[in-house]
């Protein structure tokens, strides 16, 4: 059987029946993405690999935690990855109080041409990825920054407001408007026929 042709939910169904080949296919499809997200948050290759390892072994150990009725597998996987990465970032921040962690507030959330091709990933989320990147490109910088500080930096709206010297209400509005545009981009891409 060619596992590369199976949808995520089909792979997860097999994975739930302890099909190691399905697990490997999931890893091949999302390994680099999970690693890249973790790396974006923690800024350390080894730590990012540890996080990715944790995330995938969680998928293997507890596949039932993914509920198909609650959305796409990749959404759940990235949420788990982000949360695990933020936990690690905070933990490291406590341990390395005087050591600068990679800044999530540098205005660089949009890929700048150094993205590598990943055929396995491209088969499932290429339209989504392109749509998101397009949406971010046209997002006002202040909205993009607020989203970036929250998602990759793990900051609350209040912390963002403090950091930027802006009223809390302004930050809330930026996040809300920015995310509305992101959601619109995703909906349009799904309408475009992402598999």
């Amino acid at each position: 059987m060619d596992y590369t042709r199976l949808r995520d939910d089909e792979l997860m169904d097999r994975l739930g029946r302890r099909d190691i080949a399905a697990f490997e296919a999931i890893y091949d499809r999302y390994g680099d993405l999970v690693f890249s997200v973790a790396l974006r948050v923690v800024g350390d290759t080894y730590v990012a690999e540890d996080i990715a390892q944790d995330v995938f072994l969680r998928v293997w150990r507890r596949p039932e935690q993914f509920d198909l009725n609650r959305g796409k597998f990749v959404t759940w996987l990235l949420s788990v990855t982000r949360n695990r990465s933020i936990d690690e970032r905070r933990s490291r921040g406590r341990r390395l109080r005087h050591e600068a962690l990679p800044a999530a507030d540098e205005d660089d959330v949009i890929p700048s041409g150094n993205d590598r091709d990943d055929p396995a990933l491209a088969t499932v989320v290429s339209l989504d990825r392109q749509a998101v990147r397009d949406a971010l490109l046209v997002l006002p910088p202040e909205q993009k920054l607020a989203i970036q500080l929250a998602y990759f930096g793990g900051l609350t709206q209040q912390e963002i407001a403090n950091k930027l010297g802006q009223p809390l209400g302004t930050v809330k509005t930026r996040i809300r408007l920015g995310m509305q545009k992101m959601r619109g981009a995703i909906e349009r891409s799904e309408g475009g026929g992402s598999p």
Binding site: D32, D50, G71, L78, N114, R116, V132, Y151, Q157
Partner: protein, 277 residues
């Protein structure tokens, strides 16, 4: 009809999905979400939008050792499972170039993860792993050995739990070209472990001997007999070495010796590995 609560919560959903609400507001949102079917669709949409931010990251290639670690970890965690015969796995490992130590590292990292408190050691060992050619086959092979041999498993765990754990892949000589193995050790633990496979059967009265090879001396690590499938393993503990006399560590070797007290290597070498100077 949407309640005032729903309206207020939905305004916060994007921030909640991004993890940007403070703890008290997040708890309020989550309590509402858990009990409000009307908001469920909005929650899922917010989650998806938040996750989409992650899709924007530039893709970086994870190291090949990460896959080995992940797959070896899955093999460990997969219980119950059918035992996999080493005889089937070892040829795979050999064919893959036999980076067995990398497999050991993979296993070590995952075991430590299960213990839940070895972040620093993991990072250190991962650094070693990335320097070596790692294959899924070798990682899986080692895991299976460890699972089937509790003593070696435990000894290896004690060794690799130390930050200075390191290891070498051992290759068969012309006398035993099918042999391969790895030696993993930690100075802090004062222990080392050899795992080998493809060893030729021995004549009666003979045994394999592991040697720790120093510049001026070969020190006995231990004698062992091969299993019927050609595998072998030996644990080395508290090696007594006069560092000044022995000189620097040069490597490891396995020779065929008489089965009895051994003080000097006289037999043919079947496995060897050199420490990079």
């Amino acid at each position: 009809m949407m309640s005032a609560d729903c309206e207020r919560i939905r305004e916060d959903l994007d921030a909640w999905a991004l993890g940007a609400l403070d703890a008290a507001d997040a708890r309020t949102a989550e309590r509402h979400i858990a009990s409000c079917d009307d908001c469920a669709a909005f929650v899922d949409a917010a989650r998806e939008a938040a996750a989409s931010v992650a899709l924007s990251v530039p893709l970086q290639a994870a190291s090949s050792s990460l896959k080995a670690r992940v797959m070896a970890g899955a093999a460990i965690l997969d219980e119950p499972r059918e035992p996999v015969r080493m005889r089937r796995l070892w040829p795979l490992a050999a064919a893959a170039g036999f980076a067995l130590f990398a497999g050991a590292t993979a296993w070590a990292l995952i075991t430590q993860q299960e213990l839940g408190d070895a972040r620093d050691e993991s990072s250190a060992l991962a650094g070693v792993a990335t320097q070596q050619s790692v294959t899924l086959a070798t990682a899986s092979a080692l895991v299976m050995i460890m699972e089937e041999d509790r003593a070696t498993h435990d000894a290896m765990a004690a060794i690799v739990a130390n930050g200075d754990a390191t290891g070498l892949a051992m290759t068969g000589t012309d006398a035993a070209p099918s042999a391969s193995g790895a030696y993993v050790w930690s100075r802090t633990a004062g222990r080392g472990a050899l795992v080998a496979s493809g060893l030729p059967s021995l004549a009666s009265g003979k045994a394999y001997c592991l040697w720790v090879v120093y510049e001026h001396d070969w020190v006995v690590g231990g004698l062992f007999a091969p299993e019927s499938d050609g595998s072998g393993r030996v644990i080395v503990e508290d090696l007594e070495v006069d560092a000044e006399m022995a000189g620097r560590l040069e490597g490891f070797a396995v020779t065929i010796e008489d089965d009895g007290p051994v003080t000097k290597h006289t037999g043919e070498t079947v496995l060897e590995a050199s420490v990079a100077q």
